[in-house]
Amino acid sequence: MIKKNLQPLALHVPEPKQRPGDAPDFSDVVVPPAGKLARPDSATPAADLKEYPYALIRVLDDNAHAVGPWDPRLAPDTMRKLLKDMMLTRAFDDRMFRAQRQGKTSFYMKSLGEEATSCAPALALADDDMVFPSYRQQGILISRGWPIPDMMNQIFSNKADRLKGRQLPIMYSARAASFFSISGNLATQMPQAVGWAMASAAKGDTRIAAAWCGEGSTAEGDFHSACMFATVYRAPVILNIINNQWAISSFAGFAGGEETTFAARALGYGVAGLRVDGNDPLAVYAATAWAAERARTNHGPTIIEHFTYRSEGHSTSDDPGAYRAAQAGSAWPLGDPVERLKVHLIGLGEWNEARHSALADELMETVKAAQKQAEANGILGHGLHQPLETMFEDIFEDEPWHLREQAAQLLEEDAVRRVEGQH
């Protein structure tokens, strides 16, 4: 079997540079200077954009000055809105994480450090552009002004939950905010977004679609299907890859990250690919605005890799200390998006520390008040759920006989349970 005159083959299994016990070390992360990268016209053919997947769009430099052609030159009010959205997202995450720890719900997922990758695109898109998020894009809903108590009702699966307690916490759906129902199955939303965009194009509509998934999720066949349809029909869609370096315990090397960038996937399909500093809110805004303009003018899809870092655990079920260096989040060389935008605004004279901490306090109060309001509708597992028969609704438009029978059976059982005090 093994030929002696040939050297034996060997299987390469990726390994991250640090593991628990090691100090975090990001010295191999190449951080090009802000402002140096040219900004091509958004109608440029993909064939002339081949370097972009390997570059990194950065607007805020080390001093948080906005520099270079990708600076979106946002009005201070817009930037303050972006800052506030990110801060509110963070405050929300903080409270809901705690609520899970307090046993008020079953599950939560934070987006700490990645807020820019949701809040900035939301701002750069039109409010009625359709978004197909993954589970870490709560920032979009917040940016679009969705009521915080409504989000919390969903998290508590309580009697006011519009989704009737059917979905795991954070799996929002908000059609009125052009926000698609979140799936627990990774990457399924990617071809769906392309399909929505194709429908919009077929109808001569003006709305585009955008989708998000993690770098780990790009390995799924659905991601590939999305890219195939996007390129073939030049769909008006933005496919965002949030490369936060980790997929639960697996570093990006298990998603192909050792060999090239995630934006480079675009080259395989002949579509535009951008790579952006995901912790630079202005750069993320600019990249999204470019891609949105490209899509809206019938120049087709863009794949954007957001280079960022998952600063905390994957979810409330996860302990990152078991598989990666401690404190890796704070060592991340691209910094913190809230901090960077804050310093930028202060530098412009449009913000100051006092206003910042006042805003932080105010947002925490907002969130606390919302939580109080939501908890009044019940928390998970404490009885204030939806009526039992709602379990059989919305499976089909009309309830067929077998579901009607089962609903009746459940109500009978419930009566028994009540009599017997049993479960």
């Binding site: 392309v194 679609a209 659905d222 299907s225 349809f229 919305d394 077998h402």
Partner: protein, 339 residues
């Protein structure tokens, strides 16, 4: 009344649906310019335009994923999976997405998608052009499954499926596209045009056959035969050849099932034989058998029998040994009548 074969009837249904609603959109491998490997979509692209009837990349996952997105936009996509044997790569998008979106969004995102796919064997298609995977879909909450057995129903059920606001898996028994099949492999196929039956007469315009309603194909007092698709015809042969007075019910829709028609018949006959081409274990026949004995137990004179394909991959050269033909059905009829 025009006579059509099943392909023509399906083509006519799609044509009517496209003309009626600007939201109906057909997509799939080879369905556009060429009109489908079975010609079910022939002429539709030319008539309704490239953005409403088009070819796709070869990714069933993508075809259904994109259809879900189109439905979320407000279209009524009618994707084709070229053969039912190729539906598995799309399963996650069907089971975890299309089937559950209305539910998980509490009604925000209904999924009016009709997935058409030729299924079943009897054409020497080997393992990957012959399967009957309906049993995978009937187990999934949120999907309807529809299987016509003749041109009239094919058109009427397809129009009803497209008008339905829930996802429908529409399996087309390819063995009887051109004409009914008596189950004897060496009988030449009689084209539908020459079949003297109202089911081969197909109105040009719009009509529907409601989902969830079975059809009593033949009334009888001895035994109830439950079948769908090709097997309705094969069951007919078996009844005729056996001399047993079988009542043949063409289920037409598996989910939601027409339980009342089934119950009424079995309570009358006291005997039941279920016929399908799919593999036996865990097939839809198991569900039918369970339902019948749960609901008609005290009327049953003999065990409910299942006549099915064997629990093997669909073989090529031994296709007719696999196929649940008249001999297999007659043996089951004999067995239930003996008891």
């Amino acid at each position: 009344m025009p006579r059509m074969n099943m392909i023509e009837a399906i083509n006519s249904a799609l044509n009517v649906a496209l003309a009626q609603s600007p939201d109906v959109t057909i997509l799939g491998e080879d369905v556009g310019y060429f009109g489908g490997v079975f010609r079910a979509t022939a002429g539709l692209q030319k008539r309704h335009g490239k953005t409403r009837v088009f070819d796709t990349p070869i990714t069933e996952c993508g075809i259904i994923g994109v259809a879900v997105g189109m439905a979320a936009y407000g279209l009524r996509p009618v994707p084709e999976i070229q053969f039912a044997d190729y539906i598995y790569p799309a399963l996650d998008q069907l089971v975890s997405e299309a089937a559950r979106l209305r539910y998980r969004s509490a009604g925000e995102f209904p999924m009016p998608i009709t997935v058409r796919s030729p299924f079943g064997g009897g054409i020497f298609g080997g393992q990957t052009h012959s399967q009957s995977p309906e049993g995978v879909f009937t187990h999934v909450a949120g999907l309807k499954t529809v299987i016509p057995s003749n041109p009239y129903d094919a058109k009427g059920l397809l129009l009803a499926a497209i008008a339905d606001n829930d996802p429908v898996i529409f399996f087309e028994p390819k063995r009887i596209y051109n004409g009914p099949f008596d189950g004897h492999y060496d009988t030449p196929t009689v084209p539908w045009a020459k079949v003297d039956d109202a089911t081969a007469e197909v109105p040009e315009g719009h009509y529907t056959v409601p989902l969830g309603k079975a059809r009593v194909v033949r009334e009888g007092g001895d035994v109830t035969l439950l079948a769908y698709g090709t097997m309705v015809h094969v069951a007919g042969t078996a009844v005729a050849e056996s001399g047993v007075d079988g009542e043949i019910i063409d289920l037409r829709t598996l989910i939601p099932l027409d339980i009342e028609t089934i119950k009424a018949s079995v309570k009358k006959t006291g005997r039941c034989v279920i016929v399908h081409e799919a593999t036996r274990t865990g097939g839809f026949g198991a569900e039918l058998s369970a339902l019948v004995q749960e609901r008609c137990f005290y009327h049953l004179e003999a065990p409910v029998q299942r006549v099915t394909g064997f629990d093997t991959p669909y073989p090529h050269s031994l296709e007719w040994a696999y196929f649940p033909g008249p001999v297999r059905i007659k043996r089951a009829l004999d067995a239930v009548m003996k008891d």
